[in-house]
Symmetry: D2
Subunit: 436 residues, 4 copies
Amino acid sequence: MNKGLKVAVIGGGSSYTPELIEGFIIRAKELPVDDIYLVDIEEGKEKLSIVGELAKRMFFKAGLKTRVHMTLDRKEAIEDADFVITQIRVGGLEARARDERIPLRYNVIGQETTGPGGFAKAIRTIPVILDICRDIEELSPDAWLINFTNPAGIITEAVLRYTNVKTIGLCNVPIGMVNNVAKILNVDSKRVRIEFVGLNHMVYGKEIYLDGKNITSTVLKKLSDSALINMNNIPDLNWDKDFIYSLGMLPCPYHRYFYMTDEILEEEIKAFQSGEGTRAQQVMKIEKDLFEKYKNPSLDEKPKELEKRGGAYYSDAAVSLISAIYNDKEEIHTVNVRNNGAISNLPDDVVVEINSVISKTGAKPIAFGKLPIKINGLIQQVKSYELLTVKAGVTGDYYTALMALIANPLVPSVKIAKKILNDILVQNRDYLPQFK
Amino acid sequence: MNKGLKVAVIGGGSSYTPELIEGFIIRAKELPVDDIYLVDIEEGKEKLSIVGELAKRMFFKAGLKTRVHMTLDRKEAIEDADFVITQIRVGGLEARARDERIPLRYNVIGQETTGPGGFAKAIRTIPVILDICRDIEELSPDAWLINFTNPAGIITEAVLRYTNVKTIGLCNVPIGMVNNVAKILNVDSKRVRIEFVGLNHMVYGKEIYLDGKNITSTVLKKLSDSALINMNNIPDLNWDKDFIYSLGMLPCPYHRYFYMTDEILEEEIKAFQSGEGTRAQQVMKIEKDLFEKYKNPSLDEKPKELEKRGGAYYSDAAVSLISAIYNDKEEIHTVNVRNNGAISNLPDDVVVEINSVISKTGAKPIAFGKLPIKINGLIQQVKSYELLTVKAGVTGDYYTALMALIANPLVPSVKIAKKILNDILVQNRDYLPQFK
Amino acid sequence: MNKGLKVAVIGGGSSYTPELIEGFIIRAKELPVDDIYLVDIEEGKEKLSIVGELAKRMFFKAGLKTRVHMTLDRKEAIEDADFVITQIRVGGLEARARDERIPLRYNVIGQETTGPGGFAKAIRTIPVILDICRDIEELSPDAWLINFTNPAGIITEAVLRYTNVKTIGLCNVPIGMVNNVAKILNVDSKRVRIEFVGLNHMVYGKEIYLDGKNITSTVLKKLSDSALINMNNIPDLNWDKDFIYSLGMLPCPYHRYFYMTDEILEEEIKAFQSGEGTRAQQVMKIEKDLFEKYKNPSLDEKPKELEKRGGAYYSDAAVSLISAIYNDKEEIHTVNVRNNGAISNLPDDVVVEINSVISKTGAKPIAFGKLPIKINGLIQQVKSYELLTVKAGVTGDYYTALMALIANPLVPSVKIAKKILNDILVQNRDYLPQFK
Amino acid sequence: MNKGLKVAVIGGGSSYTPELIEGFIIRAKELPVDDIYLVDIEEGKEKLSIVGELAKRMFFKAGLKTRVHMTLDRKEAIEDADFVITQIRVGGLEARARDERIPLRYNVIGQETTGPGGFAKAIRTIPVILDICRDIEELSPDAWLINFTNPAGIITEAVLRYTNVKTIGLCNVPIGMVNNVAKILNVDSKRVRIEFVGLNHMVYGKEIYLDGKNITSTVLKKLSDSALINMNNIPDLNWDKDFIYSLGMLPCPYHRYFYMTDEILEEEIKAFQSGEGTRAQQVMKIEKDLFEKYKNPSLDEKPKELEKRGGAYYSDAAVSLISAIYNDKEEIHTVNVRNNGAISNLPDDVVVEINSVISKTGAKPIAFGKLPIKINGLIQQVKSYELLTVKAGVTGDYYTALMALIANPLVPSVKIAKKILNDILVQNRDYLPQFK
């Protein structure tokens, strides 16, 4: 690759795009990008234009010649691309709001990536992502698909099972955990390493190292003494001290939904009733403000406000991953990848989130051995849910969809699973062509 | 074995014993028993005497010379026994009542074998069963331990992991399911066969055969058209039609606790508030009536009322199992046994409930292959819970006990797990020497 | 099945057929056969006629109304059959003679089922057996295929991998070992049970029981004190005492080829040079004599001489297997069947030879757990060879065929593998349409 | 570790030591070594002194202050060491000569690391290495044991199974293969990467990359066109073209013993009869010359001649491994390490040779997935042999030793295995205290 790269960003009109652009600017020396294609759909045209113009100003300010293209023609963007990044949100924030509201109606956690909300998002997204993959198979079969789109584990599972596209699924949770541990310890995050193992939004930090020294118990002690490890989009609830001690490893912020279900649910209901709305409604406001800012023709850098979103660090994670591939770095990143025996009590062919060696040949997971019994049950349960969801998303089979929801640990019974499923199918009718 | 057998029944004063005696009487020709030792503890002395005398009258009426011994000396009973049967209830029905009440206080299902109630029963029982096993290792190392004591899967797991005793765990759920399918189809139960797979009280009928013909879908159709498959001790709630169709196999009655959690809980709370009491309280009444009957010196057979208990068919299952071993029958029974690869996505060394070939060498599971994804999650989750419970029951470690309860799918959160655990530990203090 | 059965015997003109007929006659009460179709190819027409007439006389003598049909039309025989038995020999005894001679030319064991000879037989047979399976799929999809054709493990593997036919592979080695142990112990063979595990012609008797009592060490002691366990077609060589003690289980007669390679080879070379010829040549003489006998119109039973063949007990094994299926017996037979986890360190989807429960639903292997290290290496090696052979037999790919031979433990080097392969391909050209 | 390191070299009087010293000198900046302890036994005293003095001169020339200690007191060397390197040869070159000669007597390949020679070396070495490990457990429990001693896979397996010492097994074969591929391609070896998988001296290059581009087929083509990939100690025989094409991956030089057994044997016999002697005898001459050179007080660098030995690159491999650990590099090295699921059809707990991530926490294998069938058989067979050898080496059980040799693919029969074993036991009596 002696000429510069072509990068296609599907969902280019996203409010996160400036982060991504900043990531490319920061790494411009090691990662020469000639062309960035921001693609969006008709409904996103205006946002695309706002974000695209900002991106241009950012590159200009940085003195880079990277060309920014805005287009509604996905094929044009994908053709001969070296990297395709997907950050789409099928149905937009309105759909997210519904994903959060439907479960709440039945006293079930409403969240956009785990629980029934994540299920709805998954089955809406799978047909679209598979369509994108058909384009890649046809127009740029050697391209790497870097998938941000949530639920990232399920989407990556679908792509690996049903297409030939080379893909890596990415999430900002692991990098966020590293940064938070560094903050707790008051050290530079480069000195911290965590042995991650699990699934997307269900990842555990099995061991934690500072300068190569195992400091897991120190961190857990601090954590149980109330140092929070959290993300902006999850209620701030402290972990129970005895739980942390029993677990003996670092849970991820999303684990709160599974281990603190009742408390989180209470918070959600409170927020909803107080008029604060679901997270989606809050985000709509933030987005609106952001785009107002983006429009300002004198803005030529990423505004600070963007970091308040749950997706912080994504850009860093994504562009550094792309650079590790492009530069054949053999660097360790935590990504969603085919298991291949790395977790030896999960099948070889399922997607896991795990520390992996990144090089030009992609991501190879580092062998972990067996999951400890303490976490094996939950991970197996959630993986079964994910596999059923992928199957439901691809086939549009009602009964598989029902079993998927039943298998989700946040769904309390068959009766409620059925009610939620029926609501999801009705309210997302336009986005679920596979369910006839 | 040219002379008759010696059988020791630990917990011999149980109200179920007359069933067992009947089982031995029915099979007297193929299974020559010289001596039955009914063992109980000091507190059960009176019941032991009542049941023992009834047993004597039953054998006498049948014209058999089997000697019935009543003793409080366990070692005497175990010495040189050919079979040791355990049907103990550590803490008696009072403990059971507590097991059922504690979770209900936190809006969690209170049941004596699944959920936190089963957990409490398990950690009370494990030290006692291991003590019994020490006696067997010393006094009759070749004896077979036939374990009825609930939670049978967990207890068998403990025995297999921590002793050298040859054991088979037995439950009446599979035989009950066969009988119920036969009833639904209005055929003799000998013509029905079910391919069972799973764990104790978590077993599925994967395929159902009538005279060797696969009739699974017929049975499921009838089932979803409201034919009930249930046991006397579980609320009568119909399965959801779409769920049965989605599952594509026969759930066991206990699955209601997992798939119909909310409805079962509602029933339990209603029953409790109506003054009907928990199941334990109802059983206490039934027991009282039964023992009144047993006392009648003219009674010389098993009274019909006994069949109303949840434990119906146990005697048949147990004595026919013993006969299959003694007569080296190579007959198929559904038992709790070391997996050995039979379910190929569970470890070799865990206990599963599965169709097995019974002969003088014990029980060998029939290979099943991988669990379908539909049921893999729940089974893995419950197996993890069981393994943690065994470890907690043996070590008395608080943190392991907490992780066990957290891993139980009926426990909704860490917070509630902790409250329930603390209540269990306090209220069972006298029975938990391992928890200091 | 209220009417009698239709059985198709592919390769019906075989000299073994009278054994099979005898088997059906002996079990006539439990296994009502209306029609037996003996099928053969043009070249076997005369033999077919001789054997068919003998079969008719045998049924007549037994007072049975079973109709014997002789036909060259395979489809007619297979249509609506309940059982299809394959006992074909593609290329006849001439091909077998070549299979035995080619390896010998390079100082490699020449044997018709193991080593390069078995490989040649396998790749000749696979296209024919798959053709037969296409017919079954079309004309009698519910029929059971009982495969005798050697190498039975490989052929069964091919059928299971590449067709939808319900099949069980059968070999007389396990039953022969049971009978021989009974002979050594001077007891009725019904009292002896062996826990078999391994592959076809590579099966070990892990434990041996007499009336349910483990007598493995007694038998091994006798064996190492020179009691032979062998078959008529394998040189009579005593096992080394220390080897038997080290192994701690019962090897099968064919294991001599692998553990006593040098001595067997020496015997073969001696026999060959002495003019005694290879085994095929000896068999040709025996066959000629047998058919002379069969022609005798006054002969109406199986002649004793047939028992001298290596295939003794096949009829008993085969018909009793068919009866176990038909009568839904849940009886234990040692057969070639999909592993399904039974041997937990082999993949689920490979064929193994193992004790299995036989019923109307076919053969289900009894879970064994992990292969002991002592035998794991050889079994894994041979299974790899078998899988490569199946692939080579189906695809006709030269390189896969070469890797198959290289993987065979009887082939000493790549150089010799290549020479042998080239000879096999040239000399079997007419039977290998898949190798272009 | 703010002060410099202490390194203990067991077998410090080896002729390879100057390479190791050179390795430390080259990396002095990143790897500050204060003290190197060269340990040897009484018989090696003179060599130790010669090598030690040379080492001192080498460090002096390099301007480094590293102190070189020569000692016969192993405990002194091990106490508080950061790294312990073992490069011992129990029984010296005389024992090696016997290892090579014994098998040859029976027409079996005589080689010091594979086949019966490697077996003899293993059982001589295991008791000594376990003794060393006891010292480490006591005197420097946090030290890393870097094991060079052959057969490195077996020795590492023994250490991991029977001690608590943190160990990594190292071999120069993978690095040699990388260098040779680079030579064939005429490129810098840093641009070449190979995905290695297998066992020690049984490792395959599954994929080969140049600058991240897969060039496996190019290299295989060149290889089959006669470019040799070999080591100094293995006869120079070309691979068969069709074999390379069939295999589709890069065999290691030692694979010749398994795939070209007859040709190698012929070469060995020829060499032996020609008076050239076994490899050990040739090495004795080379060693003698080397030590003459080392004695020269004006020599202060590693002599070129050392590179002619089979062990070339070891120093580079070893010191760069130590540096990767010390500097927590997360660099990829090919080492012998606990499998942990990396090869998903081998058990988690066996040692494999595989690309691994090296950091302060040691070596973590990169997940590979299942071994291709083509190589699975041989690898499983050799791993079974290795496990039996470890057990025999630890227990001194004759029967386990016999099964180990029988399981070795280079041993043609039980009969020969027994003869060779008996010779080995007699001729190594002084070094086999565990065999009584």
